[in-house]
């Protein structure tokens, strides 16, 4: 019995003793991410190149390094490169990096092959291998795919290297005939392609979760009887669904007024769009199969520009219900459910977009006679500024991995001329690359999904 008592006293007694420790705990705060040095070996070329193969391999080499430089907040890609080695000596001074990527080409069954290995130098192990036939006919696609696999074996996550960006450009406009069409390009701004040939003004494109369809609004004229009985030409904003595989399109909503700002739901079965047939703009959910529409916002002031988080549990939108254009969130499963105001400042806020994990909202706000891009938590905390002194910046959109933001930036050159181009910055506002140059005025970039 006494033994038991002693044990109990010991257990609780120890606690009592440690309490006498009068100390001050000072929080240092969250650590900054340390960049990992990454070095590519020189290419070992064991194959005899035919035709253009030599130059293609050079292009591949540059592309791989350029791709990794997008993630400059994670990696420092070293310029000085060691020679290729089949079994690297991790103690070698020429490596001195966190990661080493070795590259070689060789010939097999009369075809050109590439072998890429990524080594974790610190833990002295092979982290991943890519061994593939080189698609010389589409070297950029091949390169991005290799870069993605290498990135994945280092971080365990998908990269942006296989993604694309859809945007609008007015480059086909003539003097008095303004036109805007949809275009698509690789995430790095290469391989731009025109998608639509509607010869109209197209607005707000959106890509489906499976990257196979596109929604966009086209401003079109139609004849309508006016009060005096005579037919009159009126403009309407009609919503189209475009199949990126079959290249077929169809009108899916053409009620009177606005049918715009549409985005896909998380599962791609429904869309959220803004309609103004009841005079003030409201957000509706529409089933793509049945075409049935449910009203989600019912306020008597305008609600526009919906965006949904990844699992579809939350919607962010722009509303004038406070008297100014402010950002709100709500549960889109029912009309006006859990509406919460997120932004309280800014003269005019626009285009709220969720990060892929739904934890942050990026938006543009009118400050000092121009738009700049800001980021805020979906809870309404931690408002931070991302752009400044960089023209007028609008239409931000997160990359599918949440590491980057694509946006448009306008420079006024003269009273009649202004340039508007698409840029990428990382999530902390560091500008990474200008994606369009002399490609007309470009608008509303939308990043594809993985």
């Amino acid at each position: 019995m006494f033994k038991l008592i002693t044990v109990v006293f010991l257990i609780f007694g120890l606690n009592a003793f440690s309490q006498e420790d009068a100390v001050t705990i000072v929080a240092v705060g969250e650590a900054e991410q340390e960049k990992d040095a990454l070095v590519f070996s020189k290419f070992k070329e064991d194959a005899k190149y035919k035709g253009e193969e030599g130059s293609k391999v050079k292009e591949l080499e540059t592309l791989l390094m350029e791709d990794f430089k997008f993630y400059r907040h994670l990696f420092e890609v070293k310029e000085e490169r060691p020679a290729y080695t089949a079994s690297p000596n991790f103690e070698d001074d020429s490596i001195k990096s966190r990661y080493l990527i070795t590259m070689k080409t060789y010939e097999q069954e009369n075809a050109l092959w590439g072998e890429f290995k990524v080594y974790d130098v610190v833990n002295k192990r092979l982290a991943g291998t890519v061994n593939d036939k080189i698609w010389t006919s589409n070297i950029r696609k091949f390169g991005h795919s290799v870069a993605n696999r290498l990135y994945k074996s280092i971080t365990g996550n998908e990269s942006i290297f296989n993604t694309k960006i859809v945007f609008i450009s007015d480059r086909t406009s003539r003097k008095d005939d303004s036109r805007k069409e949809v275009y698509i390009m690789d995430f790095d701004g290469e391989k731009k392609q025109r998608i639509t040939f509607k010869n109209s003004l197209i607005l707000s494109p959106a890509i489906s979760p499976d990257n196979k369809s596109l929604l966009f609004t086209s401003i079109e004229s139609r004849w309508q009887k006016s009060k005096d009985g005579r037919p009159r030409k009126v403009q309407n904003l009609n919503l189209y669904l475009y199949d990126l595989v079959t290249r077929k399109q169809k009108v899916i909503s053409s009620t009177e007024g606005i049918n715009s700002g549409a985005i896909f739901s998380a599962d791609g079965q429904d869309i959220y769009l803004t309609l103004s047939n009841l005079k003030n703009a409201d957000i509706y959910k529409m089933n793509l199969k049945t075409g049935k529409k449910h009203r989600i916002t019912t306020h008597f002031l305008d609600d526009v520009d919906p965006h949904i988080n990844e699992d579809g549990s939350m919607m962010t939108f722009l509303s004038g219900r406070s008297g100014k254009a402010m950002i709100y969130t709500m549960d889109p499963s029912k009309a006006e459910k859990d509406v919460k105001r997120i932004s309280y400042v800014g003269r005019f806020n626009a285009a709220p977009r969720f990060s892929p994990d739904g934890k942050e909202i990026v938006f543009s706000s009118w400050v000092d006679n121009r738009f700049d891009i800001y980021k805020i938590d979906s809870t309404g905390n931690n408002l931070v500024r991302l752009t400044k002194d960089f023209g007028s910046n609008e239409e931000p959109w997160f990359s599918p991995d949440g590491q980057f933001i694509v946006f448009t930036s306008q420079r006024v050159i003269s009273s009649k001329k202004a340039e508007q181009d698409i840029y990428i910055m990382n999530r902390d506002g560091e500008i990474i690359k200008k994606l369009t140059n002399n490609y007309g005025k470009t608008f509303t970039p939308r990043w594809s999904n993985f």
Binding site: F12, Q19, A27, V28, E32, V345
Partner: protein
């Protein structure tokens, strides 16, 4: 007779008494259940070893009156040494203002000495600042803390939240230790695979009279040796803090300060 015999016999076999041992057993059982519950549901029946530990985080009062002026990049590029100097320069006139204000008050009431002695006795009491900032169960998330560390939207550094209680040795001590993170933070870096893992390590630091870090020891390990190593490395790279005031030498050299990475 037989009854009393039996009774004494029972006593012999069971010196503590049946009921007493039963009651004791029940109490121990209850205490153990409470202890287990406190573990499972994180109830604070038994205060942890940090009961007497005062927790200081750099407090930033944010008044949202407009869109932030500085970008994240600009805030990141602020040199921590110059900002902390700047803060000191800023805080000095602020103090002067407070003192002159109180002078006016004292003159009118003519109780200067009494009141100031009252304040100095107040100043010896444990500062309530930490309680204000850190409440039980309301631990800042890593992200919130990160944004605090970035000092975004900063209006004022909250070192003067409790005003007069910062006078004297206690005030000097609080001021000194709250300036410490700004010297460590530039070296507090983690590789990608250790970030956002919700790890926490606490390191006890012994600071010499000249401000040099004499000794560091792990007070609370994160459980991940590399994380602990990185925290220790950050302190090693920091090397030294500014020379502390004589009045706080003993507390610093005896290792009263524990730096939390991140909390």
């Amino acid at each position: 007779m037989t009854e009393s015999f039996l009774h004494s016999h029972r006593f012999k076999n069971d010196p503590l008494g049946k009921f007493f041992s039963l009651a004791l057993g029940a109490h121990i059982l209850l205490a153990m259940i409470a202890y287990i519950i406190s573990f499972v549901f994180n109830f604070q029946f038994f205060e942890s070893k940090n009961k007497n530990a005062e927790i200081i985080q750099s407090a930033v009062r944010v008044d949202v009156v407009g869109m932030p002026k500085f970008t994240v990049q600009e805030l990141k590029n602020l040199d921590p040494a110059t900002t902390s100097k700047g803060q000191k320069a800023d805080s000095a006139p602020a103090k002067a203002e407070v003192e002159s204000k109180s002078d006016v008050e004292f003159k009118s009431t003519e109780k200067k000495i009494k009141l100031s002695s009252l304040f100095s006795s107040l100043s010896n009491r444990p500062v309530e600042k930490a309680k204000k900032i850190k409440k039980k169960g309301s631990v800042l998330s890593a992200k919130e803390l990160n944004s605090l560390a970035l000092e975004g939207n900063k209006v004022s550094e909250g070192q003067s939240l409790v005003g007069d209680s910062l006078k004297g040795a206690q005030g000097a001590y609080i001021e000194y230790v709250s300036s410490m993170p700004s010297y460590v933070r530039p070296y507090w870096k983690l590789p990608s695979y250790l970030l956002n893992k919700e790890l926490k390590a606490r390191i006890r630091v012994f600071v010499s009279q000249s401000g040099r870090i004499i000794k560091t020891e792990i007070y609370e390990s994160s459980g991940v040796p590399e994380f602990d190593k990185r925290a220790l490395e950050a302190l090693k790279k920091t090397g030294s803090f500014p020379a502390p005031d004589k009045s706080i030498w003993t507390r610093l050299t005896s290792g009263d300060v524990i730096l939390g990475f991140p909390l």
